[in-house]
Amino acid sequence: MADHDLSMWSAMWSVIRRDLLISFRERGDILQPVLFFIIVVSLFPLAVIPEPQLLRQAGPGIIWVAALLATLLALDGMFRPDYEDGTLEQIILSAHPLSMLVLGKVVAHWLVAGLPLVIISPLLGLLMQLPVDAIVILLLALLLGTPALSLLGAVGVGLTVGIRKSGVLLSLVILPLYVPVLIFGSGAVHATLSGLDPSPHLLLLAAFSLFSMALCPLAGASALRISVN
């Protein structure tokens, strides 16, 4: 049995490594969500009155909404290319639990599409006139919240991968599920801005991500099986 477990981890690792290698060879695709994130956030100071006080109030919300949209933009790439070239069939026909392989795909996707958003966020915090302590909390909140975005996204993409031009449908399925992450994520930064303790928000975000990690790979696996049926 130990042998079997080992080969399951190596299967999962080979999925992660393959996706990272492909992303590395298609570097332009990695940059897209990050650039989108930066541009959307930097449009707001131009569109509204560039009053530091106003930006500080709206900043956390704007950054989080932009992060949601940037994640959504990259989601389709999680399973659609695999669906189109037939590798998804091979992944589904693997003797290993599909949920673990789905988790592998989500991990690779988060490293490529989620982590860069977290890393770039302090810069956008500065743009939004956030004080340093709020920027630290913003970074932490994104770090804890974006894995849930990728995990929930896997279920949505799994359900819609068999449908052509599923972009709008995917947003309709996924964005409502992102609401808790949005509320606690921007709530944590707002709490810091008002001098309150942000840890309840952060803990709830972490709990939500862990909960997603337990359920979403299973749901995503079932969704994929239905989609290729």
């Binding site: 079997h4 080969s7 299967a11 690792w13 490594r17 290698l21 060879r25 026909l93 003797a95």
Partner: protein, 187 residues
């Protein structure tokens, strides 16, 4: 089906040959009827069934950005028993199918026939008893079809089972080759 036997499925376009293969491989759930592997329903003991199955569909399952060897290594890693010297096995397999010269090229630059050959190499290297092949001879040249035939011979000689769809006539050992015409049953 029994060990050492090949079943060729023929029939007019659109009569459900691919659907039948997808049902047999467990990708599609049948509307009626059940598929057994040995004594077990394939959906009950899916893991055990899949550990014995190699499936080659219309799309050979290669990522366009990776070269054939990288593709094969990833796919073979999805199996339950992975060879210790995977690297050299993949090289040998690709050599045998005649695409080693293009090993370092991303698959997007390969021709359809080359990709099909890489797909066949993958099935061969999976080293499992049951092969389900959907039009394995697609885009292959005469030499490629000869190679495919030889590989199928070897698999049957090792007591493998092959279910395949093809309009091509395959020169397989007479005693172990059956044909199922899906067109006939519909009249």
């Amino acid at each position: 089906m029994i060990s050492g036997q090949a079943l060729q499925i023929i029939g007019p376009n659109g009569c459900g040959k691919t659907s039948l293969l997808r049902i047999l491989s467990g990708l599609t759930l049948p509307a009626a009827g059940q598929v057994y592997w040995g004594e077990d329903l394939i959906h009950r003991s899916a893991g055990a069934f899949r550990a014995n199955l190699a499936y080659l569909g219309h799309r050979p399952g290669l990522k366009a950005d990776l070269d054939p060897a990288e593709n094969l290594k990833t796919l073979l890693n999805l199996g339950t028993t992975v060879a210790d010297d995977l690297e050299s096995e993949v090289k040998q397999g690709l050599d045998m199918l005649g695409i080693s010269a293009r090993q370092a090229m991303p698959c997007r630059q390969l021709s359809a026939g080359q990709k099909q050959r890489a797909g066949i190499a993958r099935v061969m290297l999976q080293k499992v008893p049951l092969w389900i092949l959907d039009e394995p001879a697609t885009s292959l040249d005469q030499n490629g079809i000869g190679l495919l035939c030889k590989i199928m011979h070897q698999h049957l000689a090792q007591n493998g089972i092959i279910v395949f769809v093809s309009h091509q006539d395959f020169d397989l050992p007479a005693g172990s080759h059956q044909t199922l015409d899906l067109g006939e049953s519909h009249g």
